[in-house]
């Protein structure tokens, strides 16, 4: 034992003061985030896929210039080119690489155009719902006096029947929006608004719960003691710490928004009928599912994969944004 101590190098005693590792190069915070993000395989794949989809729907129409609304009745009901691999009798053609629908619209083009609409609706509606939900959840959790009324308000929205709400919204707002933004953008705003204001409740509930717990943590008290205003406490201290449940809601919210959009056009409140979206392509194709499985599978897979990627991306982002995990 004495041998050991004798040989031991001079132990430095101020562990608290000295860096154990050589000081790291000062690095940008975003660099750290990116490094951590890169380690998450799922997130990379998910992010990659999302990027691919986004590029595809943005740039795709420039390359594949067929108009998604263009009918071509002579070439209707074509199968995708790959069906030729096992079914030599299938009607296929390179002109319609993924086939065509019952009016001869090119499926590749509709998928690309539909993707634009679905992604735009999905993301904006999800972000809208998320912001409403977070705002309400934060207010209810942070300001005790608002808690009761806001939660009642949430109950109210949970129990409102969606369809009449929709119809009312359409009655009241379609014309002004159409006049100001044109038929498609106007409808877009309306749809996004409707989906947004009918799907924020879950987020609000979850965020409120988290905030209630966080609010009792000492660092909030500390922030108050150094004179941080409530607005700043919420922005700097509370919000970054509820990122993770918000991410989860975001993932689910995107899926719901994309699907709800299709349900809306189903009810005739959505985009003009010749305006493709993934959800609508999917629901239109359901009756012909047995003959043309690709017409349901392609949009179905795209929706699922998008949701899945967002889920993984959310996981990765959450890890990357949390300095506690990032450090490891």
């Amino acid at each position: 034992m004495t041998d050991q101590t004798a040989q031991a190098p001079e132990v430095e005693l101020y562990g608290a003061l000295k860096d154990k590792e050589p000081p790291k190069e000062p690095r940008s915070q975003w660099r750290d985030v990116w490094d951590q993000f890169r380690k998450h395989k799922g997130a990379l794949i998910g992010g990659g896929f999302l990027l691919f989809i986004t590029l595809a729907i943005l740039i795709g129409p420039l390359i594949w210039t067929v108009d998604a609304k263009q009918l071509d009745i002579r070439n209707k009901d074509m199968r995708p080119i790959y069906t030729a691999l096992w079914d030599s009798t299938a009607r296929v053609s390179w002109v319609k690489p993924l086939g065509s629908d019952n009016l001869g619209r090119d499926i590749l083009a509709t998928l690309l155009a539909g993707g634009r609409a679905s992604m735009a609706v999905g993301w904006t509606a999800m972000l809208l719902a998320l912001s409403i939900g977070t705002a309400i959840g934060v207010c209810a959790g942070y300001f005790r006096r608002l808690d009761g009324p806001l939660m009642r308000f949430t109950d109210l929205f949970l129990s409102l029947p969606i369809l009449p709400l929709l119809l009312v919204a359409v009655t009241l707002f379609r014309q002004p929006l159409r006049a100001n933004f044109g038929p498609e953008t106007g409808m877009f705003i309306l749809i996004v608004g409707v989906i947004g204001i009918t799907s924020w409740m879950q987020t609000a509930r979850i965020v409120r719960g988290e905030i209630l717990a966080l609010k009792e943590r000492e660092f909030i008290l500390a922030a108050r003691s150094i004179g941080t205003t409530p607005a700043k406490i919420i922005r700097r201290h509370l919000l970054p710490n509820v990122i993770s449940p918000i991410m989860v809601s975001a993932t689910l919210g995107l899926a719901t928004a994309i699907i709800t959009e299709s349900a809306l056009s189903f009810l005739g409140v959505g985009f003009p009928s010749d305006f493709p979206t993934w959800g609508k392509l999917l629901s239109d194709a359901v009756p012909r599912m047995e003959d043309f499985p690709e017409r349901v599978m392609l949009p179905g897979i795209l929706i699922s994969l998008t949701v899945l990627s967002v889920n993984y991306l959310g996981d990765g982002l959450r890890d990357a944004l949390d300095p506690r995990i990032r450090g490891r």
């Binding site: 019952n102 359409v170 009655t171 003009p272 009928s273």
Partner: protein, 554 residues
């Protein structure tokens, strides 16, 4: 072939209506599904067969002027009740029941849906032992409305006498289980869900019905209903399968059932707004008919309408959306034969070049190179609305494409059916308000006489804010000549003459191109291959002859 035999020999029959009946009292609902479900139980004096011919049902025969049943001056009709008819509870069927039914429906507080069938009736009285005399306040060239067809059947007085007027809704038991003279009696009714019937032991014909019981299921959608008959064979009969023909063909290929269609007078048509629907006009002028003022910037021009019509390939619309359930038509009054004009059949062939030439000639040219024709700064750009329905949306897409080829820009809109047909004056999306340039839907007339139908297009029937947008002249067509013809028809009794008048009116509308007919629609239904005796009629309840249905034994 299993025709004859004792009552109930064929056991169970399963019918699916994807829209479920909500009541069995046709007077309280007026909906087709309710009327048809009730027609198994409640009957009328005469029914229309698959050809639109009247068949005596609870009456001995059809009264006419020739056989003296109808008065010479056309102000009364006398029916003779069939002998030996009893209600399903065993009590006798008498003239009293008819008198009561008239009273029931015409009661001012009842809200009876069929009250128009009793229009102009001053009295219903018993005459002799089995006679019933109906007197009108004016000559009635077509007196076969009251107590004829599925809309105006006869109720049992004993059951409903406590349910007059405002009390009608309180008689839930009676409304859900009316006692009738028909081949079946209700054993259980679940509103909007399912009805079970059993054979009527007191039915007047021996050995009928062949089925002992019926399950009348409601709910779901047309695809599922078709599938359950054509593919899985769970049901024997499915109603109203408005599906794309390729979908139906595929299901039929499974070999379990057959799709049949009955043709009545339904026409899928485009209405071209004759007034200006510009949103900028404000609620007092938008789509409001103002005696020729406030006219539509271009749709009042028959040349434009004609071009729009010529550009359409009706056969293709049928192929894509209707199949066996539709035929191209150029008339808004396509049937019965007597009334159907042939003057406009040129529209059956698509002629894009012709349409283009016509527009060029009319001065509509694309002067600014944006692909849309214009004249005097007005672009040929239309908003085209209809109710939400897959087939209609396909049709919209096709038509939009054709119109694009003639330089007409189209914006599509579809509106939820409950709003579109709802008639809520507060909603901007109803078909009566017509806040669009063009709209598409189907209309028809009940029974076989077009007089009331043709009167739809009177100037006075134009929906306006003053009438809370009620009115049937949707496209706001108005000419004094047309009004005169309507007037003339209402006093003409001779069938030939009536036919001529109707054709004339039809052609007048067609040539104004305020209505562009597209498809003469049939009512496609499907029945299992093992179900015999089905004779589809669109003039009456589809189930009008259900007493004759039987199971084909193989």
């Amino acid at each position: 072939d299993g025709h004859a035999g004792e009552r109930g020999r064929d056991g169970q029959l399963n019918i699916i209506y994807w829209q479920a009946p909500s009541t069995l009292n046709p007077f309280l609902s007026g909906g087709t599904k309710e009327n048809e479900a009730a027609s198994l139980v409640l009957e009328s004096l005469a029914r229309f067969n698959e050809n639109g011919e009247m068949v005596p049902w609870l009456a001995e025969s059809i009264p006419t002027v020739e056989n003296g049943g109808v008065a010479e001056d056309l102000t009364s009709i006398t029916w003779t009740l069939k002998e030996g008819v009893v209600w399903s509870d065993g009590s006798a069927f008498t003239a009293d029941d008819l008198i009561f039914t008239h009273e029931y429906c015409t009661h001012p507080e009842s809200g009876c849906a069929s009250v128009s069938y009793f229009d102009g009736i001053t009295s219903v009285e018993a005459e002799g032992e089995r006679g019933v005399k109906i007197t009108f306040d004016a000559p009635k060239p077509f007196p076969y409305t009251a107590f004829v067809g599925a809309e105006a059947p006869i109720l049992q007085k004993a059951q409903f006498q406590e349910c007059l007027g405002a009390r009608a809704p309180e008689c839930t038991d009676a409304n859900f289980g009316p006692i009738g003279t028909g081949p079946f009696v209700v054993s259980e009714f679940r509103p909007n869900d399912v009805i079970t019937y059993v054979a009527n032991e007191n039915y007047r014909e021996e050995g009928k019905p062949a089925f002992a019981s019926i399950t009348f299921k409601g709910g779901g959608d047309a695809v599922a209903a078709a599938r359950s008959v054509l593919e899985t064979g769970e049901f024997d009969y499915a109603w109203n399968l408005q599906l794309a023909p390729d979908v139906l063909d595929r299901m039929e290929a499974a070999g379990k059932g057959t799709v049949v269609a009955a043709y009545g007078t339904s026409v899928e048509r485009l209405h071209l707004n004759q007034t200006n629907p510009d949103p900028a006009l404000g609620p007092d002028m938008r789509s409001v008919f103002m005696n020729g003022e406030n006219a539509h910037p271009f749709l009042t021009d028959p040349k434009v309408g004609q071009a729009l019509s010529m550009a359409i390939d009706r056969q293709l619309i049928v192929d894509v959306g209707y199949g066996a359930g539709g035929q191209p038509t150029c008339n808004v009054l396509p049937a019965p034969e007597l009334y159907a004009s042939t003057a406009n059949d040129g529209c059956l062939v698509q002629d894009i070049e012709g349409a283009n030439a016509l527009l060029d000639e009319a001065g509509w040219v694309d002067s600014n190179g944006n692909g849309i024709r214009d004249k005097d700064g007005v672009e040929l750009s239309v908003l085209y609305q209809t109710s939400t329905n897959a087939v209609r949306q396909d049709t919209q897409a096709l038509i939009k494409d054709w119109w694009r080829q003639i330089g007409v820009e189209t914006e599509l809109r579809n509106v939820d059916a409950s709003v579109f047909f709802g008639g809520d004056p507060g909603s901007p999306d109803t078909f009566q308000k017509f806040y669009a340039d063009i709209e598409m839907y189907t209309n028809n007339f009940a029974g076989v006489d077009p007089e009331a139908y043709m009167a739809n297009w009177l100037c006075s029937d134009i929906p306006t804010p003053a009438t809370q947008w009620q009115g049937s002249n949707i496209q706001r067509f108005c000419t004094p000549e047309y009004d005169e013809l309507v007037e003339k028809m209402s006093v003409t009794a001779n069938l030939e003459e009536r036919g001529e008048l109707a054709k004339q009116m039809n052609d007048m509308i067609m040539q104004s191109y305020s209505i562009i007919p597209l498809v003469h629609r049939g009512n496609p239904s499907a029945h299992a291959n093992s179900l015999g005796g089905v004779k589809m009629s669109d003039w009456d309840s589809e189930l009008w002859n259900i007493a004759d249905w039987y199971r084909i034994k193989n």
